[in-house]
Symmetry: C2
């Protein structure tokens, strides 16, 4: 219903709003305004109001936004009113850190399996998970109806593993390998490459 034409750039800011609202809530706050949110985020108040207005009317004139209410609405919009099971592929340092990261569970995601192709790692424990063989990935991911994966394998294997994930029904991939992935249109990919961020900043260094 006039839904899928919301700009992705707007969608991308919602998690930022949510994070700040949850921080405010943890501080014991009840109510905020677009102005205050904007100041904490470095975003204009007008933009926050405009972004939110794409999804409904969540505030009260003269008062602002009820923090918990708005946070919950944003959670619903982002489909975070459930917890998504996520698999980690690659049990190296990055996969290890991801599988142990405590910051997922209360933000809508639960790591449920860890995979690797190294026989020395398969069967070992990493972050509380027994590392499974990538050979088992298609069956396990499909059976568990996993839709989200974090990819932490070497760049040379990233596309191949991606193809497996897509075939097994995964629709969202967070890719830590420094390489562009080719996926069907209905599969989303987000990229994390710390070096890109560092290089972007070094432009401004003397």
């Amino acid at each position: 219903m006039g839904n899928e034409m919301i700009p992705d750039i707007v969608v991308g800011r919602l998690p930022l709003y949510l994070r700040t609202l949850q921080l405010m809530s943890a501080e014991g706050r009840q109510v905020t305004s677009s102005q205050e949110l904007g100041e904490r985020l470095g975003i204009s108040a007008a933009q926050i109001r405009k972004d939110l207005s794409q999804f409904g009317e969540f505030g009260k004139q003269g008062t602002g936004y009820h923090i918990d209410y708005l946070a919950n609405q944003i959670k619903k919009i982002l489909h975070l009113n459930k917890s998504w099971d996520v698999v980690v592929v690659g049990a190296g340092d990055v996969g290890h850190a991801l599988s142990r990261y405590q910051g997922f569970s209360n933000r809508g995601f639960t790591v449920s399996m860890v995979f690797d192709n190294d026989p020395a790692k398969i069967g070992q424990k990493v972050g509380g998970f027994i590392v499974e063989s990538i050979a088992e990935l298609p069956e396990l991911v499909e059976k568990a109806q996993i839709k989200v994966a974090m990819l932490a394998v070497p760049a040379a294997q990233a596309q191949q593993v991606t193809d497996m994930l897509v075939k097994a029904g995964v629709k969202a991939i967070l890719n830590y390998a420094p390489i562009n992935l080719l996926v069907p249109q209905d599969v989303k990919v987000q990229y994390i490459d710390p070096v890109l961020h560092l290089q972007r900043m070094s432009y401004y260094l003397e």
Copy 2:
């Protein structure tokens, strides 16, 4: 010289171009075109030409771009014709992964120290580095003239550590803590929060 008004969004794409050029170079390729680059990156050829034209003329009509030459020019623009020493603050899982990550050295950065405030970790080896106490950070960072830091401490301590880093002369911070940092105008911050990426994708999941 008509220099500092280049949009940051353009600067942000240069590392992406560089990464692709270096990949092509590793494939043994000599020459490419804005069209080919665009296809590999999912960016229009016109945009790539426009971006590059902000910095000079690097191509030849009818031929395209010499890959190694263009890569080197971009490296110079991004100040990557030297290697920047970087410190890692926080020797938890993320800091551990960062300090061992092999992908920095050939892309312009060298991890040179690791800090933590946990007495149980100080003096221990992490990724080939002896973990230093955060108490030593101001002196060590200033003496070594470190300009770049990666921050992997709990959110609650991130701002405080940031203030120390800034005071010690750091001008670029890659922040893994899920929190907005306040810094002076001449200090750049980039953020990595995997959950933001996951949440952005979950919008598109059913």
